[in-house]
């Protein structure tokens, strides 16, 4: 009699165990199938046994869907993953796909992968050949930079990280000097250290720079320059002087309307035509200018959003205190506007970092470019998967950390309005 009635608190004693049995059978089948390649429900016809776990799980989840059961765990499960038939189906599908995909991924990444050795011949397993990454790791980090001089890049970055690290702990007054040092002195110091040419350091041409360190160098310089240019453009776009306003609008919309790759092409093949015959500007500098101007246009739009969001009263209050245009913007408007658009600024900087691999079009090779070079090496053919998975992981860690940091910053700086 009770068999066809809806699961409820009255029949919990019979339905709950039955449901759990059904669910366990279905999960066990999928698990055994995925990990040991053994079909435990083999006595059913092949077509049915494929869908059987899904069906069993579905019936099980239906049976345990008991409202106000009085059992806390069951209520939580029902509320979160089993609230109706459709949700139960989606839940089962998700869990099965996850269980099914764990063994092949685990095998490829760890169990069948090769870690020991120095050449491709040592890669005998079916999984990933991490030896490739190990052997090429130096190149992936430093590009074609001479091995003997790599301590210079390390030192430059070590100084940077030490200063940034220290600036978190020192008092606000000292922090100001740290930041000023970072913005105005450190860039020259770092470039001098990496490029060389004086103080007894051997000169290393920019064509040899590469790998992940080049990604950092380009990102750092582009961020440093695109931010002030972007702020100026945003102010220009909101200026009351028509000529300045229209020039700013034209400049911003021009860069925002074209893809970065064409801008880089332009810096590589078209820009030299515009210079006097015989002048040569380093490829890296041309690329830096292109990326900076490109990202500055995006930065300008983000900053403009912040400027527009500020109430008019802020401008009027500043004016009524007798402030001029620059004083008003620097002391009153920009600090508030920039705080409003931290997520936008962070997104632009993230986009900048993610855009750096594009410099391959002018022949500079950062991480992705170096992997492209390494995978075409005759001794290491067929290593594309390992290379790009590694590069993807590195970039993912950098970008994810940046986005998390910006979210924290946003929370910290948010003021109640």
């Amino acid at each position: 009699m009770n068999i066809i009635s809806k699961p409820s608190k009255e029949n919990i004693k019979s339905y709950l165990p039955l449901g759990i049995v059904f669910i366990s059978v279905s999960f066990l089948d999928v698990f055994v199938n995925a990990f040991f390649n053994y079909n435990s429900l083999v006595f059913f016809p092949s077509q049915i046994s494929y869908f059987l776990p899904l069906l069993f799980g579905f019936i099980g989840l239906y049976l345990i869907r008991i409202e106000f059961s009085g059992i806390r765990f069951l209520d939580i499960v029902n509320k979160n993953i089993n609230s109706n038939n459709f949700n139960a189906f989606l839940t089962l599908l998700t869990i099965f796909i996850i269980i099914k995909s764990i063994p092949p991924l685990l095998n490829w990444f760890v169990l069948d992968a090769n870690f020991i050795g120095n050449s491709k011949d040592d890669c005998t397993g079916d999984g990933a050949c991490w030896i490739f990454i190990k052997v090429w790791f130096n190149r992936f980090m430093y590009g074609l930079y001479p091995d003997a001089e790599q301590w210079r890049i390390n030192t430059a970055f070590l100084i940077l990280f030490t200063i940034v690290g220290f600036s978190f702990f020192v008092s606000a007054k000292l922090k100001k000097y740290f930041i000023l040092f970072l913005i105005f002195i450190y860039p020259f110091l770092g470039i001098e250290l990496i490029s060389g040419g004086s103080f007894g350091l051997k000169y290393v041409e920019t064509a040899a720079w590469g790998g992940l360190s080049l990604t950092f160098i380009i990102s750092a310089f582009a961020i440093l320059f695109c931010f002030p240019i972007g702020v100026f453009l945003a102010l220009g776009r909101r200026s009351s002087l028509p000529a300045i306003r229209y020039i700013s609008i034209g400049f911003i919309e021009l860069w925002r309307g074209v893809p970065l790759i064409t801008v880089l092409f332009m810096s590589a093949v078209m820009f030299p035509m515009f210079l006097p015959d015989g002048t040569f500007i380093d490829k890296l500098i041309r690329v830096l200018i292109a990326i900076t101007l490109f990202e500055a246009a995006y930065m300008a739009e983000v900053v403009r959003g912040g400027l527009q969001a500020l109430p008019k009263g802020q401008y009027e209050a500043a004016r009524s205190l007798g402030m001029g245009y620059w004083k008003m913007n620097l002391l009153i408007i920009l600090p508030q506007a920039l705080k409003l658009v931290i997520p936008g600024i962070a997104n632009t900087l993230l986009a900048l970092v993610k855009d750096t691999p594009l410099i391959f079009v002018v022949g500079l090779m950062e991480l992705a470019g170096m992997i492209g070079l390494a995978k075409t090496n005759p001794k290491w053919l067929g290593m594309a998967m390992e290379g790009y998975v590694f590069a993807g992981l590195v970039f993912w860690i950098i970008c994810y950390a940046m986005s998390r940091y910006s979210q924290n910053l946003e929370k910290k700086l948010s003021t109640e309005r």
Binding site: N87, L90, P242, I261, T262, M270, F360, A391, C399
Partner: protein, 391 residues
């Protein structure tokens, strides 16, 4: 005295000076660049002009939607590249929208697992550079597909191999009539809908517009098939042996792996951004709106269609427009895997052959500017249509 008047009291003059300086600086930079360019081009013996567009291109393009071979002009090659760019952008926008909406809605699902999976999808694919994703699909994932002789077959109609995806080709007779009938169906649906709106607003009658529209859409083309001599046959790809070891497919349409990789990466990457927009849009509709709609007796579907979606769309459309623009611009990364888009064909091969850097880069950039502006004009029009109409 004059100086004082000039600097403080005369606001017009004070405003004029910075503008004048800026404009003069801009003009002088342009003149400087232009003279340099003229001298440089003179040295290389080339003169500025667009006449080269009519010259014979004499290079081949691997994938073209219109008839093209080496004997056609550079202008034609430009058109081939442009069409390929538009093709991959349209495919990318289509799938990115679908995936983005699904993921965005999933992130708000009350199913914990689904919401988490959607969240991780967004976090993973948004934080990996697009170019790496394209490389991954093209150089790693699609290279793992089988050779033509062991191609993955879908019911023997279509085959997925390392050389591309072979799908049946549509062979139409009297395609024009079919197209006309489809256009007629859309026009009919427009009138039906406006009639239904009038009926609803004047008499409060609800017409089943969805069913009527759907049946019109099916009925009109069906009539052409039955009575007006339109027919459709398929040409299936068939495996053919070229030499003892080399196989290929004949017939059908081959979708090249470059296009698959590019479309896949573009739509998966852009979908994460669209998903965030969709999520923000739905969250942006206040709970009171839904409760108010429920309290006047609207059904769940009506609430979604009449109350939540129109308001959510207003929040979703402007940032999504930006994502469509980004996708179109990002399709230029095609050059990295040799998909013959406008950058590879025109700014790559054609530039190498002619050496006309200034003309070709300008045309390419102008093309992208035009594409961007036309998409934003269309989306602005749509946005205005969706905006709140004050009565």
């Amino acid at each position: 005295m004059i100086f004082k008047k000039f600097s403080i009291e005369n606001k017009k003059a004070r405003d004029l000076i910075p503008q004048l300086i800026t404009v003069l600086a801009l003009i002088s930079v342009i003149i400087y660049f232009a003279t340099n360019a003229q001298i440089n081009m003179g040295n290389r013996g080339i003169s500025f002009g667009f006449g080269f567009l009519n010259q014979e291109a004499s290079f081949d393009i691997t994938f073209s939607m219109i008839e093209y071979d080496g004997s056609h002009s550079y202008g034609r090659a430009f058109l081939v590249g442009l069409l390929n760019t538009i093709l991959v952008s349209v495919i990318g926008i289509f799938f990115a929208t679908i995936a983005g909406v699904i993921v965005g809605v999933s992130r708000l699902s009350d199913n914990y697992l689904i919401a988490k999976v959607a969240e991780w999808y967004v976090e993973i694919f948004r934080n990996i550079p697009l170019i790496l994703q394209i490389f991954f699909w093209y150089f790693a994932a699609l290279r793992a597909l089988p050779l033509p002789e062991n191609g993955i077959s879908f019911n023997d109609i279509s085959f997925l191999t390392i050389k591309g995806w072979y799908v049946p080709k549509f062979i139409w007779t009297n395609f024009n009539i079919f197209l006309l009938s489809a256009i007629a169906a859309f026009i009919a649906i427009y009138f039906i809908n406006s009639y239904a709106t009038k009926q609803r607003e004047q008499y409060g009658k609800q017409l089943p517009t969805a069913i009527i529209s759907l049946s019109t859409l099916i009925l009109f083309p069906l009539i052409t098939f039955l009575f007006l001599g339109v027919s459709l046959t398929f040409e299936y790809p068939v495996l053919k042996q070229l030499s003892p070891t080399v196989y290929t497919y004949e017939g059908g349409v081959s979708i090249i792996p470059e296009l698959i990789a590019l479309a896949l990466a573009l739509s998966m990457y852009t979908a994460t951004f669209i998903a965030e927009n969709v999520r923000a849009g739905i969250l942006g509709v206040s709970k009171g709106q839904k409760e108010a709609a429920a309290s006047i007796g609207l059904t769940k579907n009506q609430i979604l269609k009449l109350v939540v979606m129109p308001q959510a769309l207003r929040i979703i459309i402007p940032p999504t427009t930006n994502q469509y623009l980004n996708l179109t611009k990002n399709s230029s990364l095609a050059a990295a895997i040799a998909y013959p888009d406008i950058v590879l064909v025109f700014a790559g091969t054609a530039l190498m052959q002619t050496g006309r850097a200034i003309e070709i880069i300008s045309i390419t950039m102008l093309t992208y500017l035009t594409l961007s502006i036309s998409i934003s004009i269309f989306m602005n029009w749509y946005n205005k249509k969706m905006a709140i109409k004050e009565k």
